[in-house]
Amino acid sequence: MVTGTGSLRGLRAATPAFDRRLATALCCSLLVSAGLAAGSGGAFAADNADAQCFAPAKGSAGLVSLPAKKGPYRIAFANGFIGNGWRVQMLQTLKAYAAQPAVAAQIKELRIVSVGTDVSAQIAAMDNFISAGFDAILIDANSPTAFKPVLRRAKQAGVVVVSFDNTLDRTKAETDLVQVNQDQFAMGKMMGDWLNETMKQKKHVLEVRGVPGNSVDRDRHEGFRQAMAADPGIQITEVVGNWDDGTGQKAAADAMAVNGAVDGIYTQGGSIGVTHALIDSHKPLVPIDGEGENGFRKLIALHAKDGLLGESAGQSPALSAVALKAALAVLQGQSVPDEIAVPIPVANYKTLEAGKNYFPDLSDTFFAAYDFPVCDIKLTPQAIMGHDAK
């Protein structure tokens, strides 16, 4: 399922060139969907608990509002995988946000369980939370489709479920499920549009995809391809990088060794590895689109003058904090859209600024889109990384 263009506002603020692109996009039959997003935004604004932060996504069917419960609340988080930097930062951001005095006052207990990559274990974790009488469950789902039965049980028990990051394919039954994400299709499309604009020659583009079979990979890919379809003469080489630096670096290096120089690169993740593959190939540096890793932004800042014109936009680990904020709002009886599209945090070689959207002193694996000021989620990188796991 493709979610939302509700993030248009955020994009425009971040990329000056966007207005012109928007105009083009409107001509190209996107009129309907963009109009819908703007229209629904207006309609919801009256009741939405926080219209700025909780912008309705394109697929949003309406607001979720449930009877208010008395706080403080017991919140659970059924996390899946924990073994990469993004997930760790996501957990730490959640804890740092929950520890802020205004938020902490509303929370009686925040219980976090990481079950690994097994779908059945994550379903069981949610069942356990329901049995234990938690008020709300957050989930970063291992599968977009496997939670139908457990969502039924949650609804029966009156437990609010907020899914984020890897969200779920919604069916009609899930009327009180809230989903928080960035619009992956829009992100892929934004990347494609920017690449089209920035490339000097337009013959050959390398696309490094994510984990096969994953909905985020699918949506970003489709968005990117839609943007690239504007110029049918471009040859696109597609490799699988699994959103991983090592895999991406090898796949990109192999592709460039076989196919020769490319004019532009889009990598969904593992951007540091893919960038190193480009630099190590000793071919001319070309425009590159990648994720939000701090190290990728460091490389762009360092090599932009040599031609590494980079754009970095990514999934923010702070989505966990937005999900918590949405869960608290619903528990208090406020209304939020069922599908929330938070703005995509984006930076490019022109807008990079040390200490603001990239951090020369912090590790490469830190995700530079670390907070959401628009959602009143303001944390410092130090507060997030320094927040121990206790």
Partner: protein
Amino acid sequence: MSGSSPRLFLRHNALPLLAAAIFALMFGLYLALQPNGIRTDVLVTAANKGVLLALIASAQTLPVLTGGIDLSVGAIVVLCNCLASTLLSGTPTQIAFGVAATLCGGLAAGMVNALAVVVGRLQPIIATLATSTMFYGVSLLLRPNPGGDIDDDFASALTGAVGGVPVSLLLLLAIVLLLWLPFRRSLTGRGLYAVGSSEASAYMSGVKVARAKACAYVGAGLLSGFAGLLLTLVAESAQASAIQAGDLTLNSIAAVVIGGTSLFGGVGGIVGSILGAFILRTIGDLLFVLSAPPLWQPMFQGLILLGAVSFSALPTLRARNRLETYR
């Protein structure tokens, strides 16, 4: 085989009995720490995820008993999950056909493994690694996008409870009583152990080595098919996920070892592996009731796992001669 006196029974089943004790201890602790007491839904939750892994661990046990290994069990589960997700809806007849077709899918995958290992004479570890990629490829073809249409009532019935007893547990019991125990007593079943103990001696004694080995891989496929079916009912959908497949395979091997089956073959059995699977799953549950800090959870999980494996290795320590434990 198993003798008549209680002492002999204890000696032959020391490892599974130890696993049972560890499981009882851990699960008892889990239930005692339940905030809302022992309720049927808590048991159903534990049973559904436990039985799923128990089936996969049982599948893994068969090749391991012959001294081999099957790295494709997880991929077969995912394959059968994808297959079932397209078949388990419609009239009761259609659903019954879907169940049969799913199990046949597991059998067929097992036969491919048997062909590669027995006829092709490839090393099981490499052969099944290759076939697992193949099975994953077929899953991706069957279900390029996650999803599926499963009959709600059928799924709820088989993942629910009857008279306070989880249905999935009854299913597992039926498989052990109706498939495993008769098979173990059969000529081929005993051949499995003989081949695992010493393939050369087994051959010299007239054991049909090829048949025993082939049965192990085909049986593993069938049991993985059951697991794929259960996964489909629990999730009411399917996803061709290589990560899920790898996760299940790795956990199945861990469960087999905890349950007292030797990776060198010839010693152990499915009952131990089932207990091993339940122990593994209970570790996750303990993290839940003990509310361990999130970033410490993997370490706790590892520590408890190490403890469980060491505990089940205790008989080896007090043996005067190490050969004794493998008698």
